[in-house]
Symmetry: C2
Amino acid sequence: MPPNQYDVLGIGNAIVDVIATCEDDFLVGESIEKGGMTLIDEGRAKQLYAAMGPALEASGGSVANSMAGIASFGGNPAFIGKVHADQLGEVFIHDMRAVGVACDVMGADRGPATARSLILVTPDAQRSMNTFLGIAGLLEPDDVDADLVERSTLLFCEGYLWDVESAKKAIRFAMQTAIDAGNRVALSLSDTFCVDRHHAEFRELVAGPVDTLFANRAELLRLYETDHVEEAFELLGADVALGCVTMGTLGSMLIDNGKQIKIPAYEVGRVIDTTGAGDQYAAGVLYGLSQGMSLDRCGRLGSLAAAEVISHVGPRPMSPLERLRIEDAKVDPRSWVKD
Amino acid sequence: MPPNQYDVLGIGNAIVDVIATCEDDFLVGESIEKGGMTLIDEGRAKQLYAAMGPALEASGGSVANSMAGIASFGGNPAFIGKVHADQLGEVFIHDMRAVGVACDVMGADRGPATARSLILVTPDAQRSMNTFLGIAGLLEPDDVDADLVERSTLLFCEGYLWDVESAKKAIRFAMQTAIDAGNRVALSLSDTFCVDRHHAEFRELVAGPVDTLFANRAELLRLYETDHVEEAFELLGADVALGCVTMGTLGSMLIDNGKQIKIPAYEVGRVIDTTGAGDQYAAGVLYGLSQGMSLDRCGRLGSLAAAEVISHVGPRPMSPLERLRIEDAKVDPRSWVKD
């Protein structure tokens, strides 16, 4: 069998982020749940956009951000998602290809506009996302190129896709295709509210097709309905081969077949915008896995990428992660060898 | 006569910036004149966009940036320019209104797309701009609301508009209307290549309707065809009531009816992207003028705004300039009084 063509194939919502700063009062006035992701319709998107301050636009989408991060590390990722043939769709596709993600996505001529997430960043650098899914929410099994899934060593999907029935079917199809081809299947839990909405199905996924899970501490506790993180780690270890749990400034914990590996966070001068932190952590870990690095090193690359992205506005790396990775390897040669 | 409604009315190209970093080699390979602004057609825009790296989108346009800066200082500016009723047009209008610029611009249903400037930022933080003018280049006298010009204490126009015949007519009409109403007329020379293209007309404008000129050192030397900056200052002093000449890290020089006032630059930790530095300098000076501050203080506000904008990616302030101004006044109470 020929070697796989791509390290990682990401399937996720293709979104352009519209990023503005605001005071906490604004979130209260607009009844926005701080730190979460809220799905909004086009009317609410217009109203909220009119109320918010001047913004920057940057390509986003959770798994799409991770694929951009993997490419920035020097990896070879691919992406499936849906955009409209409008200006923001063009921006999304450009930014994926420009960083080196194989993105064979064609903007659709009809249907809703390209997805936008109105992201409000408060002075504590926390981001609150308000997403109008647009055409991204129309992902369906036909959009999944089975051949592409088979040719990618690892499949990575986002929990956010569970909010749309047809997207769910698309992901289940992709996961089965990956498993049949002997490939790995990874999932991100995406968001605590998302976990609450799809709790039973996420439990079934981690007990079933998913072998690698990404979650933050709060999402993990919701998944296993416990307040005790050690209990959650144990349950996670029984469910998946690799659990990757981020814990903000405390770093992260990798659960390798039940064995805990603690990964420190990197120091960041000033945290500007936490958008994309989890996505870039996943990018580092997945890149490391795809290169056969030790889990310790994989986690360190995750921390490295997360530290880069929270030090500026925008959900994707602005410095080439490959350069940071090479510089970092000089500091930490210990595990800079393939297992 | 009722007091004027707006401090400053800006007329300029309504542009969305598409900002990517690149190495110097990329500029050489693409034959891009470093540090300048090159007008490009739609075909070249597509080709260059495909070749450049992942980008951020941010509302731009020289005079539009200055109006956003004045609003951020707490002033009351207005803007005239042209956009299409497309997604980037919507972004441009939103960002103007959201920061507090009166922008009664309606996106056109037909004609070319909203203008884009593909901006390449090299590791030295220098920006090279490649502008597809689109519908912004169709500005004509009918777009200038004479009543709005009359109701604005100061009119501010950009030299870039001289590249388009109908826009030139629009600006001449606006300048005459402002003068007839007893208002001030300011011009930015915009760019050295722009000065070379329109040398004779710019000389005629500064000798004629323009009473306040913004230029950087290089543009000023080109305007007066000399290598001696002192000679240029003298000629400028004879032409305009107020000359404002930026000199990068050396600060700036205000020429007040021939008298020189030296303004220091602010220290900036790390210069990230010089896009918008001149525009924000003009914003600070114009805001100060509109508030009747001393010229010394006007220049200092210009330096303050320029320092803010070069410390991050994007051509407009990300921190409210009003807050920085108030903090700065505590450090420098000397001239923090109205003349």
